[in-house]
């Protein structure tokens, strides 16, 4: 029986991420996977891998240690975005800690109505760690109650993933005409359009203007494609589902982009983003859509950076007595200072 041939072609980052996943999850008897890279990876370029990429690599049994050693990776706790008023840091983990099911920012807002309290960013352990001015090793990271991603060299990372795929049985080539031989082609590019599956071809694209989003989008697409392409035959229901999920993902990324950069939010925002803004402004809650890329603390940071503030906090934050609330906030700041300065997290 003729083997089913799948080709992954295009930009190095996308090909390496998608190809690595497919080599581990799709490749098997009667199947061939060819990866053809067009153009070189940006050798001097840094790449941010969001925290969820650690589980992606974990499933491939690629440890953070491997990436740290082979691609000079460093832990990161936040990402930087540009807004009309300047650059902002967006943490991957929540400000403060939630308590009795109520998120920290509600308590912080209530405290601010009682007395002067420092900015909410002063209660962010990830931001404090980012600004600590010292490296953190993996052992330390494992003890900290924060999510972290990795910042690393893009070209070396792509090379690691390509080598992984090669060892798993994928064929690596620089012949970009591979698609003529294949039963199915996945083409990876980096721009700001959404992915689409048409006929026997999937065009994957990832945004390059939001730090960390491009690798995440390729990883999500790899999982999605792997779950749906099956034996590479044309499957309308699977195709429609792939496209629906991809469009949702692109919409949410577009929402974050709009929130960060739009001069006139009210007139630029999609209905979904407007809802996030309105509900947050009304009660401090951030509604989620069917498919989200960014975490709740990221939306919170972006909303605040654009001047969207809740008119009120969650009434359940009133359950904490005033004195206890204020002393808790003081303790939190002290703990953050201890963790970041001692170099020996408790």
């Amino acid at each position: 029986m003729k083997a089913k041939r799948l080709s992954v072609i295009g930009a190095p980052l996308g090909v390496s991420i998608v190809g690595a996943w497919l080599s581990a999850r799709w490749l098997g008897p009667g199947r061939e996977l060819t990866m053809a890279v067009s153009g070189a990876a940006q050798t001097s370029s840094e790449l941010l891998l969001r925290p969820s990429m650690l589980s992606f690599h974990g499933e491939l049994e690629i440890s953070p240690d491997t990436l740290i050693q082979a691609a000079s990776a460093e832990p990161v706790f936040s990402w930087t975005a540009q807004t009309p008023t300047g650059a902002i840091s967006i943490p991957f983990s929540p400000y403060g800690v939630s308590r009795s099911g109520v998120e920290f920012h509600h308590y912080w807002q209530r405290a601010g109505e009682l007395e002067d309290v420092s900015d909410i960013s002063d209660f962010s352990l990830p931001l404090a760690l980012e600004n600590a001015g010292r490296p953190f090793n993996l052992k330390e990271m494992g003890q900290l109650p924060v999510q972290f991603g990795l910042r690393l060299d893009q070209a070396r990372y792509a090379d690691i993933m390509l080598q992984f795929a090669k060892q798993a049985g994928a064929k690596i080539t620089d012949d970009t005409n591979q698609e003529t031989e294949a039963d199915f082609v996945i083409e990876c590019v980096v721009d700001v359009e959404s992915a689409a599956w048409r006929g026997s071809r999937i065009g994957l694209s990832a945004p390059d203007d939001l730090s960390g989003a491009e690798s995440q989008v390729f990883a999500n697409a790899a999982r999605r494609a792997c779950a749906l392409i099956g034996d590479l035959s044309d499957q309308p229901a699977e195709r429609a589902e792939f496209n629906r999920l991809s469009e949702n993902e692109a919409d949410r990324i577009a929402d974050m982009r709009t929130l960060l950069v739009a001069e006139d939010l009210q007139h630029s925002a999609s209905p979904e983003l407007l809802r996030k803004i309105d509900v947050f402004r009304a009660c401090g809650r951030i509604p989620t859509e069917d498919f989200e890329v960014f975490l709740s603390p990221e939306w919170l940071a972006a909303l605040r950076a654009r001047g969207v503030q809740p008119r009120r906090y969650d009434r359940m934050a009133d359950r904490l007595p005033e004195a206890e609330l204020l002393s808790w906030l003081t303790q939190l700041r002290r703990q953050i200072e201890q963790i970041t300065s001692a170099g020996n997290p408790s």
């Binding site: 099956g230 229901a237 589902e241 402004r281 009660c283 989620t288 069917d290």
Partner: protein, 510 residues
């Protein structure tokens, strides 16, 4: 007016919805300076919605800090491992919808894909052989999974069957001890602000007046506040879920209670059987366009396990929901907010969802348009997701023995459901939407159980050799069978941990 803070909540109506709401609000908002008052009248009978639940109820009880065994004793409860569906796909067929998952994933590929592949190789074992819930249910076994029980028993999911009126009484005691106030009285009219239309007070018999900032309508199907005062119209789904009546009756229990609900399809609807510690609850849900109420009652009474201990109670309902669950300063929770037939025991769950969303979005001011819009959107999503799953039970039938089944088999279905069926049927693909209640286990159980299961499988499941696959699946079956055999009986577990005191059935139901 619009900036007035919400300091008092008035709940209209007791029953399951009213007291669940009162208990949750008293527990969570009592310390935040919000008073909770519930108005009910002993002269008005409650519908007693529910009796059968889904696993999410355990979270509700846990959040209130309720001890599970105390609750079991107080409500004559039994454990529930799932639902048996008889005669749904075709007459003579049956299947089990378990609360725990099927099997274990292998090589990062979902279990059911391997199962579908094994079937394509000629293996006849059904999904039930890989479900601890199903095996335990049919053997009358139960144990509450604890963290040290290991991964097999850890898969066991459970809910409860309980006496809804006793649950309401249990929660009343809970709520009153946490500061909720109960007022006995008949609501005669609703007082509204002449300018804004918002509710200002309930006027009770004896010329009494109960004022409040936020009103919760738990008056059942009547929707005294949400419909009568706020005029929130009803969105009718009768064309997809045509059953519109039910007749319910309790009967004496026969033998030990089984840890599952039974749903048996009838000529123009279906019949439930819910075993409690002291009695068995029964009901016949039907469509009156295809069956008379007299005939429905006759069918019900002819299919009881034991002697009836109450008179049959007839109910009429409309399937669907309010266009606005929260309108002005009134939030409808329970039957007043909408109704989906209890085929998958979701009535109490929808109450729970209404309460948890209200707490998350609890308004500071009486006028809260954004919070209200978000609440309405989330509740509409909940109703729609459950609706699709219920419609699947009717659509996925091969029955052609009555006009009712001909209608539901041939009817158009929502696009969202058609898309799900198509994906599931082709190669067992399932994508759970964000707030969707039922997961792949549930969809697979019903679709496969009624003949719409996967026709193929994900080619990724071919990673294992035939021999490895057969061996792995055999090992799994063995592990489940062994775990089920080692579990105590459901009755023995109840006797040991949560045996309820005996009740005089005739006196209670009189």
């Amino acid at each position: 007016m619009t900036k007035q803070q919400v300091k008092s909540v008035v709940i209209a109506g007791g029953g399951t919805a009213g007291w669940m709401t009162a208990a949750a609000l008293a527990k969570t908002l009592g310390g935040a300076g919000v008073s909770v008052t519930l108005v009910e009248s002993e002269a008005i009978a409650t519908v007693g919605v529910g009796e059968a639940t889904i696993p999410a109820i355990t979270k509700f009880n846990q959040r209130l800090g309720i001890d599970e065994h105390d609750f079991m004793r107080a409500t004559q409860a039994t454990y529930k491992l799932g639902i048996e569906f008889a005669d749904w796909g075709a007459l003579g067929e049956s299947y089990f919808h378990p609360f725990g998952r099927y099997g274990f994933d292998l090589e990062a590929v979902e279990f059911h894909q391997h199962w579908a592949r094994l079937r394509s190789l000629g293996d006849a074992h059904g999904l039930e052989d890989y479900s601890l819930n199903t095996l335990a249910a049919y053997q009358g076994k139960f144990v509450r999974p604890e963290p040290d029980h290991g991964s097999v028993i850890g898969q066991l999911g459970y809910a409860f069957h309980f006496d809804a009126s006793l649950y309401a009484a249990f929660l009343r005691d809970f709520a009153e001890r946490r500061g909720a106030t109960r007022i006995e009285g008949l609501i005669e009219s609703v007082e509204q602000d002449g300018e804004t239309g918002s509710i200002t007070a309930l006027k009770l018999d004896g010329d009494r007046r109960v004022a409040g900032d936020l009103f919760i309508d738990c008056t059942g199907f009547r929707g005294l506040l949400i419909d009568g005062a706020c005029g929130s119209h009803f969105h009718d789904w009768g064309h997809w879920l045509p059953c519109n009546r039910a007749v319910a009756v309790a009967c004496e229990k026969q033998g030990e209670p089984v840890p599952y609900t039974r749903s048996t399809a009838r000529e123009a609807g279906w019949q439930w059987r819910i075993p409690l510690q002291h009695r068995t609850g029964n009901g016949h849900v039907f469509c009156d366009a295809y069956l008379s109420a007299e005939k429905a009652e006759e069918v019900l009474l002819a299919n009881l396990d034991g002697e009836p201990v109450s008179s049959p109670n007839h109910l009429r309902f409309r399937t669907g929901h309010r266009q606005e669950f929260w309108s002005s300063n009134c939030v409808a929770i329970g039957l007043s907010s909408g109704f989906l037939e209890p085929l998958e025991s979701t009535s109490i769950h929808l109450i729970q969802m209404g309460i948890s969303k209200l707490i998350s979005l609890f308004p500071s001011a009486i006028e809260a348009p954004i919070d209200r819009a978000e609440y309405n959107r989330l509740m509409r999503d909940d109703f729609e997701h459950i609706r699709d799953f219920l419609v699947l039970h009717y659509k996925a039938t091969r029955r052609d023995d009555s006009p009712f089944w001909d209608y539901v088999r041939e009817m158009d279905i929502p696009d969202s459901l058609a898309r799900k069926i198509e994906l599931l049927q082709s190669q067992g693909r399932f994508f759970k939407y964000d707030a969707e209640l039922f997961d792949v286990t549930s969809w697979l159980a019903v679709a496969e159980g009624q003949g719409l299961g996967p026709q193929g499988f994900n080619p990724l499941a071919q990673g294992l050799s035939d021999q490895n696959l057969r061996q792995s699946m055999e090992n799994m079956r063995g592990a489940y069978a062994k775990a089920a055999a080692a579990m105590p009986t459901h009755q023995a577990y109840i006797e040991r941990f949560c045996k309820a005191p005996p009740m005089d059935l005739k006196a209670k139901t009189a």
